[in-house]
Assembly symmetry: C2
Homo-oligomer: 332 residues x 2
């Protein structure tokens, strides 16, 4: 069997957004910054850049589509979630490159390689940390009382697709987050869309909410949106006159779930309904209704992540063929 | 002209190191975690993973060398420094892939996608932030009084190779760091070396100190070390019986520099001298003595970064040809 391979003409990264801040009045300190070195003075006062997002870019030698895919992770995670599953199967970056798409992966402001800034001098508040206990139920891996510190006795939902044996590996990729930073993230992401000109946004959770909002703000440049379990959706009022095709995708176990999912789903359904009434192609893929039971909040990490990726890729091809949004502009 | 291209059989990432921590006794909070959502309860108590490093892996379809390159960034930076220069030229990841090496890029514990943990509950101390003012002199871009908040009036050293116009872009990739976490980083990096079996370590600054230390601890598995401006070197005592080839590389402007460079250089020279007396191939490349003037502390980001990369690659080929460390084991 031929091993699948991807030929790239560029691997690179850059930052978008961010602005200069100046910090003054902090006490001087000193520290041993590296092994076996003498202490040196540390003066934390001065200028800083903050508010930027990080973008990693993979450009194919021969892309099959004109418009690149941009991956936006959810809250408390980084772009790492698109690279590999926690049990080390290929991630969606690989699947979408194999499907002929150029791929960009972002770390939102304050997450991962985007860095974060001191508080209360630059950011106002302290960050929020998500425990493994909370994520177990919030990510719909199992019931609240199914989590235990000992991996051997954890109790997931029956038929769970998430690779539960790799839950601690998954927890290694979680990063602290801040509340109230949405406008800072959206400013950085706007710069990315301005730079790219045209893009397809694939977002997860909070990143899916950002994707729908940025499609609303940039209806001609965002050529399609795939919103995986969106959180933080725009309100249904103030829809643009027309929008590119959108796909919303949901996993399983929504009935027994943390109550936020009812709220998030209702917000998303409201927006979808209003956008459909305005004439848009706003599709929904409820995985359990399409023969895929057992998915968690993170279908791109679940055991069937490659099958879900192929469903999304097939939808993108179909949306590109059957929709001509904004006059003569083809999706790809 | 043929555009250079790289054919990969895998792009993936994983985490090494880290352990479980449990946090209790923190007050419950609440917050609006995403746009337009109701507030929800936040309980920060529970289990966390902390102490892991992040590893990004690029595997060539047809590598020309058996042993992969592992890039370790310096203090206050992340693996992003190997991907692109601040003025968006190709980074060393691309140059080394083109040269036929499999490449791995790490984010050390607490930096970038490796995430960081709450203090004082898991980490003991608060982090250290590096201002643009401090880095200007510390990274030997210009004299201490040459930095200004206004980019137009900044005064670098004459002949500076660092892309000074992109200094603010560079500052966007800096991340907070902690002091006293060296043993945690080395535990994670040890797991990576155990997993790889054999590797070539290319480190910058603090990452170069880690590379020399890990070669000392793993003399048969670390097949070569390239230490770019090493900080935090091991003491010269307790050298292993034999070690793989090492190259130490230094930029320019060391005379006028921040006094830490005298200390760091002296530590490195001591180690090199002792290792040579023990029979090792421990080379030094002082760039200004070899026709390359004007390099900063970050030669992999400077205007001549591709020339420096080719010098390093040529040294690796030569070290692989002429040295047979540890009996019959070839470097690559």
């Amino acid at each position: 069997m031929q091993i699948p391979a991807v030929t790239l003409r560029a691997i690179r990264s850059f930052f978008v957004g961010g602005q200069a801040y100046s910090v003054a009045g902090l006490p001087a300190a000193s520290g041993r910054m590296v092994m076996n070195a003498p202490r040196r003075a540390i003066d934390p006062n001065g200028d800083y850049m903050a508010g930027q997002a990080y973008v990693q870019e993979y450009r194919l030698a021969r892309p099959e589509h004109r418009v690149p895919i941009v991956f936006w992770h959810g809250g408390g995670m980084s772009g790492a979630c698109w690279e590999s599953t926690p049990d080390e199967r290929p991630g969606w970056v690989w699947h979408f490159l194999l499907a002929g798409y150029d791929v960009l992966v972002c770390d939102a402001v304050e997450r991962g390689r985007a860095s974060w800034a001191m508080y209360p001098q630059i950011y106002r508040d302290a960050p929020v940390f998500r425990s493994q206990n909370e994520a177990w139920h919030l990510f719909r891996i199992g019931p609240p009382d199914g989590y235990a510190s000992n991996p051997a006795v954890r109790r997931p939902y029956p038929g769970q697709q998430f690779p539960v044996h790799a839950y601690d590996a998954f927890a290694r990729q979680w990063v602290p987050r801040w509340t109230g930073h949405e406008s800072m993230v959206l400013r950085a992401y706007q710069q990315l869309i301005d730079r790219l000109g045209a893009c397809i946004l694939v977002g997860h959770s909070q990143g899916a909410g950002f994707a729908v909002e940025m499609a609303r703000r940039n209806p001609s440049r965002v050529r399609a949106v795939v919103a995986i379990e969106p959180g933080g959706m725009p309100r249904a009022r103030a829809l643009p006159a027309s929008q590119s095709p959108h796909l919303m995708l949901w996993g399983d176990f929504l009935e027994d779930a943390h109550p936020i999912w009812r709220d998030y789903r209702a917000l998303a359904d409201d927006y979808w309904q209003a956008a459909r009434e305005a004439g848009g192609r706003f599709d929904v893929l409820d995985l359990p209704r399409h023969g895929m039971a057992g998915n968690s909040h993170c279908p791109m990490l679940d055991a069937n992540s490659d099958v879900v990726a192929q469903r999304v890729i097939a939808w993108l091809q179909d949306a590109a063929c059957h929709c001509v949004p904004h006059g003569a502009q083809q999706l790809s």
